[in-house]
């Protein structure tokens, strides 16, 4: 995260490859289910044995005896509707919820986040020298309307995306944050409104950031959890 600061985002998970190296983020939506982005995974039928999610730790490389860390193998990947670029990862066992690990709410179906709602992105990715690369960083970003965003992006925005406003300084997601959450506080609850997707640049102060709009895919998410 560029322009963020060390923080607490108990639903943000780190996705690790077979060597235990972090490569993407994700969000814990049920004890045994994580949402991330398709771009992080080789295939919708990938054999993910050896891959795991790490939860509960604020550090990118926690000590082996870190009592807060939960490392849970991934047993299944399910790809979302093609244009969604979402994936759901089923974990081998349910995560234990505690002060460090929490679920994030799903938004109501087709819900539009009100403009200027204060949201957060979180991840263990590159900070571009703006912070500590070894800890979970969090940054605040306000929601921008799709109409206004589309003008800024010259008509390239899809209805299945949502935007946050550019700030006066560079703030945004970067390498290693992809798949992680855009979480917004609504009615005193943190809601997963967006998923961070790869973009060509990290955090430009003159352009809005775009995310996958989760509310369009809530029916699919619930169906996956019900049928799998």
């Amino acid at each position: 995260i560029v322009g963020g600061r060390p923080g607490n985002s108990p639903w943000t998970v780190s996705i690790r490859n077979r060597e235990g190296v972090h490569f993407c983020g994700g969000s814990l939506v049920k004890e045994q289910w994580v949402i991330s982005t398709r771009q992080c995974f080789s295939s919708c039928e990938a054999d993910l044995s050896g891959y795991a999610v790490w939860l509960g730790t604020l550090y990118k490389n926690p000590a082996p005896d870190d009592p807060d860390k939960q490392a849970i193998p991934i047993i299944k990947i399910i790809c979302g509707p093609s244009e969604s670029q979402l994936v759901m990862l089923k974990l081998e066992r349910p995560a234990t919820l505690n002060r460090r690990v929490a679920l994030i709410c799903l938004p109501p179906e087709r819900f539009i986040v009100p403009v200027n709602t204060e949201c957060e992105i979180a991840g263990w990715g590159d900070t571009r020298g703006t912070g500590d690369d070894n800890v979970l960083n969090v940054a605040k970003l306000p929601i921008m309307s799709n109409q206004e965003c589309n003008i800024s992006l010259r008509g390239h925005l899809k209805e299945s995306e949502l935007c946050t406003s550019p700030l006066f300084v560079s703030v945004g997601a970067c390498e290693g944050d992809f798949g992680g959450p855009l979480a917004c506080l609504t009615h005193n609850c943190w809601v997963l409104e967006g998923v961070i997707t790869p973009s060509r640049v990290c955090a430009r102060k003159d352009r809005p950031s775009t995310f996958i709009r989760v509310s369009l895919y809530v029916d699919w998410i619930n169906k996956v959890m019900k049928l799998s």
Binding site: R5, P6, G7, N8, S9, N17, R18, G20, F23, R38, Q39, C40, F41, S42, S43, C44, E45, S49, G50, Y59, A63, K76, I78, C79, P81, S82, R99, L103, I104, C105, P107, R110, F111, I112, P114, D126, D132, V135, E159, C174, E175, F178, A183, T186, C189, V191, P198, S199, R200, V201, C202, L216, Y217, D219, W220, K223, V224, K226, L227, S228
Partner: protein, 462 residues
């Protein structure tokens, strides 16, 4: 430092069935079981039951007559390498395979017969002289041989290849699946499924596509050549000597504008990371020193400073020109579309679709709606009598906003959307807004008192 298991090839979750054979199982550790089998000329294989820790010695292998392999999740079958390998190590005096023709295609004479050629070799359990199989009872340097059934040719070598020559390697040997189990200095390899003498991360279960079988040389980490951990505690790992193939490797279809799977065949010219950092040239060691030299990885196309994936990472990547960022992914390169072509179209959400498309967008065949396998449906014909849940046709009984779907015949994928697209001119309803009525459950709460971590300066403070 030898492990008795090194002399065996393991078949996981497998049991060898033999007609009317019932032998007792004795509780012991797997290595002790291997040791007992190794020293018994009578023993050719053993079962090890991981549930009961039982050891069952066997006098036959999968190549013996009247045997059959069966799946048994509690049991592994270990067979002496000499009986199952089709190549030889050293002079091949431990070869116990079933080849019975010579290198010039002469049929071998039965060892128990003295005709057409008389000989003085006795049939002993230790020399393995059975049937008319090629053997090397006199440690001939040419390897296993036999007397031939041709009266004019007394004996002939069988021409069984040495394991280091039997299977050649292409590129850096990532696909090498041969049977060399010694390093280039002659040190015995450590089994991948053991953690001694060296602890290591390459546990076979974690790398199902790398074939980390027994103690054979492999290249699971995209090193320059196949290698193994050694049985020498003082030497962690060493390369193996394996012949390079002389014929050209079959060129896999590469991509330039997008990447497939992990992008190992991406050959495009994107040369910045997904976050906009220019890539370092592969033939340069500045600012980052590395071992991915283009000349050592000839199949990886490490040209210029283009994003590539020479090490099986998650996507194409490169070393960056920023001294503080060693390497980064090029995730901005799109993945190639991998959906099959749509075969029909639907209107609305496809709730009225009654066509006959019966495969998913990935080309997987749909499960019949009235079947219970591989997935137990929660939607079935009697539940939705008006929706025509016929055969295995794609339908939308639950008015899924993403279109018709079906249960799939792939046991890992419970359901998926179908190879059908929205008909031309059809549009999806736009999203609506009703934030006032939102009610959330217990999720999405956190303790903000523990939000801030103090800047980390050496110690890990709260």
């Amino acid at each position: 430092q030898c492990s008795p298991l090194n002399g065996f090839q393991r078949l996981k979750a497998t049991q060898l069935m033999y007609l009317s054979y019932q032998r007792e199982e004795y509780p012991m550790e797997v290595e002790e079981c291997a040791r007992r089998c190794a020293i018994s000329f009578d023993c050719r294989a053993f079962h090890y039951n991981w549930q009961s820790h039982g050891c069952q010695l066997l006098r036959f292998t999968q190549h013996s007559p009247h045997t059959q392999l069966q799946r048994n999740v509690h049991c592994d079958l270990y067979q002496k390498k000499g009986y199952v390998r089709n190549c030889i190590m050293g002079d091949g005096s431990d070869y116990r395979g079933t080849q019975s023709v010579t290198e010039k295609k002469k049929i071998c004479q039965q060892w128990r017969l003295k005709f057409p050629h008389d000989h003085r070799f006795a049939l002993l359990p230790q020399n393995g002289l059975e049937e008319n199989y090629c053997r090397n009872p006199d440690k001939d340097k040419q390897g296993p041989w036999c007397y031939t059934t041709d009266p004019a040719i007394r004996y002939q070598s069988c021409g069984i290849k040495k394991c280091e020559n039997a299977v050649c390697m292409t590129c850096n040997g990532e696909d090498y699946r041969g049977f060399v189990d010694h390093t280039e200095s002659g040190t015995e390899c450590q089994r991948w499924d053991l953690q001694h003498p060296h602890r290591h991360p390459f546990v076979p279960n974690k790398y199902p596509d790398k074939d980390l079988a027994d103690n054979y040389c492999r290249n699971p980490d995209n090193s320059e050549r196949p290698w193994c951990y050694t049985m020498d505690p003082a030497k962690e790992r060493e390369y193996c000597h394996i012949r390079k193939c002389t014929e050209k490797r079959r060129q896999l279809s590469s991509t330039t504008s997008c990447f497939r799977m992990k992008g190992e065949d991406y050959r495009g010219e994107v040369n910045v990371t997904s976050t906009g950092i220019p890539c370092q040239r592969w033939d340069s060691q500045i600012p980052h020193r590395h071992h991915y030299l283009p000349q050592k990885y000839e199949c990886k196309d490490l040209r210029e400073n283009y994003c590539r994936n020479p090490d099986g990472s998650e996507a194409p990547w490169c070393f960056t020109t920023f001294p503080n960022t060693r390497r980064a992914y090029c995730f901005q390169i799109k993945r190639c579309a991998d959906n099959v072509e749509a075969e029909d179209c639907y209107r609305g959400n496809g709730e009225d679709y009654i066509g006959t498309v019966s495969k998913t967008r990935k080309g997987i065949t749909c499960q019949r709606w009235n079947e219970q396998y591989p997935h137990k449906p929660q939607v079935f014909p009697t539940m939705f009598p008006t929706v025509h849940l016929e055969e295995n046709y794609c339908r939308n009984p639950d008015n899924d906003s993403h279109g018709p779907w079906c249960y799939t015949m792939n046991h890992n994928i419970p359901f998926d959307y179908c190879a059908i697209e929205l008909c031309a001119g059809e549009t999806k309803p736009s999203i609506f807004l009703n934030p006032e009525e939102v009610v959330f459950d217990q999720c999405g709460k956190r303790d903000d008192r523990m939000q801030v971590l103090a800047p980390i300066t050496g110690g890990r403070a709260r």
